[in-house]
Symmetry: C2
Subunit: 249 residues, 2 copies
């Protein structure tokens, strides 16, 4: 008999932890894929065996596996078993800030706040589900990577964030400031386009000659569906592109 045994990943489940068992399991199994203990194409231990080995119920194990399937880490096929997916379809956290993106790439992000003031803006207010005359905090920044400007950013925030300071924005970024106030954007609608830069944009981004900008406007929402931020940004197209995974739901 040909015994293609799946590599058994060591998993430790802490039943006293407040983090759900299925999530503990998914985290540790994801770790095994991330650090190469499990390679794309490798067969995955089957659900029932895994459940028996870890003394977990099958639904719990299934839920962990489903979490990983949703992240594109695993592929399941009836009768065939579960396998580690092609690395190209792995999704990482999607809703990231440019700041975090640059850090992950090993570059050194910095921000300079061009202006920080309270304004009214009809389009931003509509995006934030607020009355058109609501006072909004408008943040205008230039984002650089390794001291070369790559983005000219406009953000509008609801009044409750009016205590955000210039220093905070320059040191940690906008999304960190929101996180510090207990707000976590989890879903956003983005519209991406391209156009020629305005003279102001050319100056801030150091654009010479005929080079376009990539534009992105974003409405971001928290888990409860409340709008938390509206942004309208433009990027030096020469140095920046947007990389996303899209999927059917």
């Amino acid at each position: 008999m040909l015994c293609v045994s799946a590599h058994l990943v060591t998993v430790e489940i802490d039943r006293d932890s407040p983090v759900p068992l299925y999530h503990q399991l998914a985290e540790q199994l994801s770790g095994a894929i991330a650090d190469g203990r499990l390679q794309p194409g490798d067969p995955f231990e089957n659900e029932v065996a895994l459940a028996a080995r870890l003394a977990l119920s099958r639904p719990t194990v299934r839920r962990a596996i489903q979490e990983m399937v949703d992240q594109g880490l695993l592929v399941r096929r009836r009768g065939l078993g579960t396998h580690v997916a092609n690395r190209k379809v792995h999704r990482r956290a999607e809703l990231t800030s440019l700041w975090d993106d640059l850090r992950r790439e090993g570059r050194h992000p910095s921000s300079s706040v061009v202006s920080l003031e309270t304004v009214t803006d009809e389009r931003a207010a509509a995006a934030l589900d607020l009355p058109a005359d609501s006072p909004l905090l408008r943040v205008v920044r230039v984002r650089s990577a390794d001291d070369a400007p790559i983005a000219y950013l406009h953000n509008w925030l609801p009044p409750r964030f009016s205590d955000v300071t210039r220093e905070e924005l320059e040191e940690t970024g906008l999304y960190a400031a929101l996180r510090a106030r207990g707000v976590k954007p989890v879903v956003a609608r983005q519209t991406i386009g391209a156009r020629m830069p305005t003279p102001t944009e050319r100056r801030h981004l150091g654009i010479r000659g005929q080079q376009p900008v990539l534009t992105m406007s974003r409405m971001a929402f928290d888990a409860a569906g409340n709008a938390v931020e509206f942004g309208d940004h433009c990027y030096r197209a020469e140095d920046y592109s947007i990389d996303i995974m899209v999927d059917e739901r």
Copy 2:
């Protein structure tokens, strides 16, 4: 007692149908949101009551609700209940073709095939997980909406699709041709950028003056993680923008 009773949606479950009960339920409830029977902010019937009313188990009902939460249609909060989400966070099927997008907007899409030939291409082959010298079917098209060109499209397909014809592409679009062969892309990695058009692109897209193009390259995969298509496209930035929902997973 203040009785805020949720509007009861009529649901009919067919236990003999091959389609899973949770999916039947999710479809019918989604329909109620789509056609306005349930409005954003409306309280949703709670899980246990819904399960009792429909003679379904609670896990089955929960699975249907989870499906809708994943589509951004519902928001659940412990202790608070389930509510219909803000319409702005509703996701529709994301991985759509430009052809379908235009149809949905009520415009009239058409394609003209510029060339259709078998080639080798190192970059496309790498994206498709094939050897660099694999023969690939390359499709070059101009996509128009209401007879005005908006996109210049390059696609590379694995050899098994070499029977795709020019007529088929012009009448139904590429994704329909794939569907007809039992292949369904479900996830794609897209890279979006901007640049100035080449003379060829200017000619095909009818671009005058200093106008950039929006570029998008896409690697598409089926549910098993097999690469099914690689595309490299450019769009008239004046007439086209890319609209996507991104979320944390």
